[in-house]
């Protein structure tokens, strides 16, 4: 009897052995160190009060901290889940603080910002360094409002009511003539669905490796150039479209009142079931008309309106169409170069067919403003397409596609009644979500 019991006991012990156990995992720590970018010169600005936000790239969980002592340049976030993190940093100095540190006088607060994207934190201790730099300032044009989400697909106007509002953020009147609006080409596949082994992605970022595009040659093809899927220019002689300080221009996809019924280019009457969801763009200053763009069949909604049409340099779409989910980069710039001299290339994975993207040397452009947009849904976010020094992060409307929501740049200050908009080159800090408002009077309160 005892032998039997002993045999059973041995069987149990042997059977219970397992090889899958490991020492339990632990949370990780992330230390964010701040430094001024080398192109900021040799500055000795205290980092006290710098605000650091890190957010988990998958869950969206955000953690905020700030530097609280004079001599510190770093903060540590303990007990984080291993994963990928985005970092956004801002440092706001009063004019007096800035002058004390640099000897330079300014007429208001000076904002420094910086950011990092998709930084992997899997080791017990992870160190990230963020380069800070000043924004492009308040001296020129900025993108004030971007309505890319569109309105409801059944009750609204889908994407035909999109628009962009450009704002004279300076203290002097500016001509809008020859201002370029570009849509930056980039990978639109969700980051987590990209197969980096394909060969045409940059392993570090998941963005296109433009050196693999057929016919593209030269050096630094991924860093010295931008690639535009759409490029539009405000026409004029150079002294046609004067815009006063603190005033805007609206560029519509189609400059009509989208709340009202209209006849499309095929003569079909189009009505909107719920006019409250869309906007009246009949007063827009400009729109895009593709009816006379060679080789393109324009959208049925692309009416030849009375508004001034932008010059279309290149456009892969059948109208001015921003990506509804938010896989988009938009920038405005001036250039002394005729962009028709820039070469066009298909995206690197596109071996046979496909639309051309214009390769624009950064050295040829005076970039005034840039904004990267990403989908609201974390799982759908794509590789960053805008350089970090132009937009350290990205923005998105809170509720995603077809929600009638737009991004509006925040008000930084009001000078003698003129609203100065905030531009830290960090769109996650600079923009808020509003219901699209083309009245030119939409501002956040300071």
């Amino acid at each position: 009897m005892n032998k039997i019991l002993l045999t059973f006991a041995t069987l149990f012990l042997l059977a219970a052995c397992t090889k899958d156990k490991t020492a339990p995992m632990q949370p990780v720590a992330v230390t964010v160190k701040l430094a001024f970018a080398t192109d900021q010169g040799s500055v000795n600005i205290p980092l006290k009060h710098a605000k650091i936000i890190i957010s988990n790239a998958v869950t969206g969980n955000r953690y905020t901290d700030s530097i609280t002592t004079d001599n510190s340049n770093q903060v540590t976030f303990p007990s984080l889940v291993p994963g990928s993190y985005n970092v956004a940093v801002t440092l706001s100095l009063t004019a007096a603080e800035y002058q004390a540190a640099t000897g330079i006088k300014t007429d208001g607060n000076v904002l420094f910002s910086g950011g990092l994207q998709m930084q992997s934190a899997t080791a017990p201790q992870n160190d990230f360094t963020v380069q800070l730099q000043t924004g492009s300032g308040s001296e020129d044009w900025v993108i004030k409002q971007l309505y890319y989400a569109g309105s409801d697909t059944k009750d609204g106007a889908i994407y035909r009511d999109q628009f962009i509002e450009l704002y004279n953020n300076s203290d002097r009147a500016l001509y809008a003539d020859s201002l370029y609006i570009a849509q930056v080409e980039g990978v639109s596949t969700a980051m987590e669905k990209i197969d980096l082994s394909k060969g045409w992605y940059l392993p570090a970022t998941g963005q296109w490796d433009w050196s693999k595009a057929i016919g593209n040659s030269g050096t630094n093809l991924n860093t010295d150039y931008m690639y535009f899927s759409g490029l539009f220019r405000i026409p004029g002689t150079g002294k046609t479209y004067l815009v006063q300080p603190g005033k805007s221009i609206i560029i519509a996809t189609t400059a009509i009142n989208h709340k009202s019924p209209y006849k499309d280019i095929n003569g079909k009457e189009i009505t909107v079931r719920n006019p409250d969801l869309t906007v009246d763009l009949s007063q827009a200053d400009f729109d895009v008309y593709m009816g006379n763009y060679p080789g393109t069949s324009p959208l049925a909604s692309d009416l030849n309106t009375a508004a001034t049409h932008l010059d279309v340099i290149i456009n892969g779409n059948r109208d001015l169409i921003f990506d509804n989910p938010g896989r988009e980069g938009v920038m405005i710039f001036r250039t002394a170069v005729n962009p028709t001299s820039w070469q066009g290339f298909k995206t690197p994975e596109n071996k046979k067919e496909g639309k051309l993207n214009l390769r624009a040397p950064k050295a040829d452009m005076q970039v005034l403003d840039a904004i990267e947009i990403q989908p609201s849904l974390v799982a759908s976010r794509t590789p960053k397409r805008m350089p970090l020094n132009w937009d350290a992060t990205y923005a998105y409307v809170k509720n995603g596609s077809y929600t009638s929501e737009a991004l509006l740049r925040k008000t930084q200050k009001i000078v003698n009644g003129r609203v100065v908009l905030q531009d830290t080159n960090n769109s996650s800090l600079d923009f808020v979500t509003i219901k699209a408002d083309p009245s030119k009077n939409a501002f956040t309160t300071k």
């Binding site: 149990f12 059977a15 995992m25 994963g83 980096l196 809170k398």
Partner: protein, 520 residues
């Protein structure tokens, strides 16, 4: 097809088993210690061989409802079941057969943070959403066993099979559709030595679960900042979670079980002692389903070791002593990754340690003037520790629950039987511990982790009343019984949450039901 064959086989088995009436079924299924012995015996060849009643069985139709806020967070506010159940055993020469078939239709209302099939709250990998909703489940459970006398009074062989299939759906975004199947085969051998009948059972199990969560409303799917409670989370422990909000998300869980059970039935002069010791190892592999099983990609493994001990000593129906114990340890191995975003942990994030012990005694006095009084006492001890390491989430508790019962079992002059049992008890918290890294606080932390901490910190009182009346006069060929039971739990005291975000634990839980039995 396999499922249909199993269903038919099990139905035939239970129908065969219940087909003959020996007239004792209402006794077997009316006094709980005797029913417990019946079920314990039917779990092994050793138990079946020595079970003294050759043929018995019952068919039941029941309705039950449970409601009240004194519950853990991943338990529905209201739980309703309509069930059909049949079981029985029969002796056919050298064969003894047992079969059981049950079907339940379940409505779970206001259930949040749990999108799985059946509630296994020790398990780390499942979909969850904060949004509460109503679930409709269908559960088919069949098991059967055959014992054969190979050498008379010496050697016995047999086999058992346990089959479970259930589905769950809900009609609120994010809406899961879950199918779960498990089959356990149990080849069994027993031999007699002296007064002992020793048995060895091998448990070989296979399980497959597919959980699919989808959104039908893009309004919810694309507006998760406005409707955060609609986010579908892939839970990977008890705090480590990743949003899975695509139009359709899927988990396929494939499990293998291997175990051993040693049984011993000792037949003494006065006492019969039935003991069993069981060990099971279950390895559940969690995968992303692809077009075919070969392309499945495993990203999680959860291994559990379960040790169970059960002993029941009986002297007729007068004295019944039982001891039950269970230890379960679970460890995951997490290799989940999101390409280009989340590197796999490649390690153990979640550990579960559970233990439970129950000691009970029941006494049934001699029949005087048609009534037998009975009483019993039970004490339960329970301990659980769950740890999610990368989020530093931790919940540990231990409780003890003494219970007393008293009842009467009688017979009328017309031969009808009646019984009533009153049970009263308390549950006292012995220890509790909760913790979460401040950086990792989420809605799950407050809704589930802290809520359950306060639930397990509470002292509650329990009062239950069960009654049954059976008569053969209605159908003449077999007894018909109606039973009813009411259980009421009342929270007596407990800690008050310091965090306002923690949902309050309710004050009571009420369970009541009605069952119609046909004893075969």
């Amino acid at each position: 097809m396999r499922r249909i064959k199993l269903l038919i086989g099990s139905l035939l088995l239970s129908a065969t088993a219940v087909a003959q009436y020996d007239g004792v079924a209402d006794s077997v299924f009316s006094y709980q210690p005797i029913t417990d012995r019946y079920h314990l015996s039917m779990q092994s060849v050793a138990g079946m061989v020595l079970y003294p009643i050759k043929n018995t069985g019952k068919v039941s139709l029941s309705g039950m409802q449970e409601t009240g806020g004194f519950r853990t967070a991943q338990t529905p506010q209201q739980h309703s079941v309509i069930g059909f159940d049949t079981e029985g055993n029969r002796t056919l020469g050298k064969f003894k057969v047992y079969g059981n078939f049950s079907f339940s239709r379940v409505w779970d209302d206001s259930l949040a943070w749990s999108q799985g099939a059946l509630s296994d709250l020790s398990q780390p990998y499942y979909f969850a959403a904060q949004k509460a909703g109503q679930y409709i489940r269908q559960v088919y459970h069949m098991n059967g066993r055959v014992a054969y006398t190979l050498v008379a009074d010496k050697l016995f062989v047999g086999a058992g099979i346990d089959y479970l299939y259930n589905t769950a759906v809900r009609k609120v975004d994010p809406r899961p559709s879950v199918k779960n199947l498990s089959v356990i085969a149990q080849p069994d051998i027993a031999f007699k030595t002296g007064r002992h009948l020793l048995g060895l059972t091998v448990n070989i199990g296979y399980g497959d679960e597919n959980a699919e969560v989808s959104y039908t409303s893009t309004k919810y799917q694309n507006n998760l900042e406005l409707y955060p409670e609609r986010t579908n989370w892939l839970m990977m422990g008890m705090g480590y979670m990743q949003p899975r909000t695509s139009e359709k998300s899927e988990i396929t869980d494939n499990s293998r079980l291997l175990g051993l059970t040693v049984s011993d039935v000792f037949t003494g002069e006065k006492w019969t002692i039935h003991s069993r010791l069981q060990w099971d190892q279950q390895r559940a592999r969690f995968m992303t389903d692809k077009s075919n099983s070969l392309a499945r990609e495993q990203w999680g493994l959860y291994t559990t070791q379960t040790y169970q001990f059960e002993m029941q000593a009986q002297q007729g129906v007068a004295h019944n002593l039982h001891l039950r114990g269970r230890i379960q340890n679970g460890d995951d191995y997490n290799t989940y990754k999101i390409p280009n975003k989340v590197d796999p942990l490649n390690g153990t994030n979640y550990t579960y340690r559970g233990a439970a012990l129950q000691l009970g005694y029941d006494h049934l006095a001699e029949n005087k003037r048609g009534i037998s009084p009975g009483w019993g006492a039970t004490i339960d001890w329970r301990s659980e520790a769950k740890n999610d390491h990368v989020t530093s989430h931790q919940l540990e508790y231990a409780t003890i629950s003494p219970t007393l019962n008293g009842g009467i079992y009688g017979r009328t002059k017309q031969g009808d039987k009646f019984q009533a049992l009153l049970t009263a008890g308390m549950q006292f918290p012995l220890s509790q511990q909760v913790g979460a890294a401040p950086t990792q606080f989420t809605a799950f932390t407050t809704d589930v982790l802290y809520h359950d901490y306060y639930y397990w910190s509470a002292t509650y009182g329990k009062l239950a009343l069960a009654a049954q009346y059976s008569s053969i006069r209605l159908l003449h060929t077999m007894p018909v019984a109606v039973s009813a039971q009411v259980n009421y739990l009342q929270r007596l005291n407990g800690k008050t949450p310091e965090l306002a975000a923690v949902p309050l634990v309710g004050s009571y839980r009420l369970n009541y039901g009605l069952t119609l039995h046909l004893f075969l």
